[in-house]
């Protein structure tokens, strides 16, 4: 019974979607042509397809985010066990932070902290 209800709902949704598509296709006066799919470049066309690889420059920001975010993620549970474990936990966290600091230093060299 539950299955029948579920199938009815799904069937209604699919039928509704197809109906909407059909109505949209019938009422559209003009279809979208390729020139309308490309970016506006003052009349010029792009030399390459949109799927081409392109270097977005937020990699350094991502690096910084991961460095600090991973730090915080592990420091909360660490703070809980620190009381029980004592110096051993402190040393372990020190090693972990030292490794992450290398990433931050690399980012520093790359100019992450320079505001542009």
């Amino acid at each position: 019974m539950a299955l029948t209800g579920l199938l009815t709902i799904m069937g209604t949704i699919v039928a509704g979607a197809l109906l909407l598509q059909w109505v949209a296709a019938r009422t559209r006066r003009d279809r979208v042509v390729e020139s309308q799919k490309i970016p506006f470049l003052g009349g010029s066309a792009p030399n390459t397809h949109a799927w081409q690889r392109f270097h977005v420059r937020y990699y350094s920001m991502t690096l910084l985010f991961i460095a600090f975010e991973m730090e915080m993620m592990f420091m909360y549970p660490w703070a809980v066990v620190y009381v029980a474990e004592g110096v051993k936990a402190l040393a372990e966290m020190g090693m972990f932070l030292a490794i992450l600091t290398v990433g931050i230093l690399y980012g520093w060299r790359e100019g992450i902290f320079r505001w542009q």
Partner: protein, 416 residues
Amino acid sequence: MLERLAARAPVPVFVAMGRDRAPAVERLLQSADIDVTATPRHASILLVAGRVRDSDQAYLDRLHDQLPHPRATFWWGDEQGDDVDEAQRAASSDDPVISLRALYRNLISGAHASETHRLADEPPAPWRGKGDHGQGGEGMMGGVPYGRMMPMPPTPDIRDGLALDVYTTQIGPFMPYWPAGLVLEVTFQGDVIQSAEVVHPPYPPRDVDRVPFDRLLHETTALAQIERARAAHHLVCIARVLSLVGLPTLSRRAQILAVRVRANERVTIEPLRKAAARAGLRAALAPGLGRIDDRLARELGGPAQRAAGDAIDDRSDNPTYTRLDFTPVTQTKSDCRARLAQWFDEAEQALALVSAAPDAMMDQGALVEAPWALRAPPIDYRVTELLPGLEWSEALLVLNSFDSAALCRMGPLETP
């Protein structure tokens, strides 16, 4: 009912600026009936103002196809053939606002059919993967499209030396804040321009404010006319920069000031300058942005040269001006800020000269500095050398910190 209401909205127009029509289009921008859009996607009418090169026809067709339906083209100029519908053209001396409004109304109501696309409906750069359907291939991104090397191209970034993917594309010739007719092939790495090449040079400028200077060659002309034209020219340049840094209201104010200056009204520029300073104009123009070396400044001449600290001005040798104790104003830094300050200073100085000698006349052929420089020979510098290392927004600011005559002289000459 809805159609009637929609047709009463400002007409969304995208302007493709051809030759000789820049001042007329600036006047059009003042009209509350016209909404000049930044991209063709927001426009219903493509306004082709003036003549375009034959080689620019394909660019124009692509722009036309990028307009959403319903759409129409409107030709504004004297060169259009008889095959163009009467409703879709205006002579260059006519005001096209009424015709544009009628065309828009008919377009909305369906009385004027939407134009079909002009270019073939095929992608300009189809995907070229390895498989039958363009899928797959080598490398970690699943393809080596366009035969490019994996992992990365050989050119390192000019900012941090990382060799990562570049993006090369042509930009122009019909864009707001862009020298009309200029097509550049620009290579970006990230958001920074790595290199730029001129594909088509800009159209030579034709400025309404040069009229008194041309007249001076043939007849005695009033000093007030000359200096008002100079102030108006500089105000229009200032308006462009203000609009570009996101101060549209102040830009409009500068435009209106320019119109009033041309109409022989008494105006002061100081309030506009103060308002721009309060709005943070200096913060929008980074110090050192668009700095040019002394050689380029000398070769460009005019306000660009004086913004670099050279007090070279033809008016210094003109007896009419020396009687008024004329000394050229200069800046020191030679960057975008300095050139903008120079336009402000020169416009204020020009209006002060008008007040000091409202009736002074100058003899035919007297030597007078034009608002732009005309005397230096063509230079071998290219506008493209200014752009590498800049982000796109900075590049546009740098381009607009020169008047159109200076920009034209920095590009290669147009082949007829």
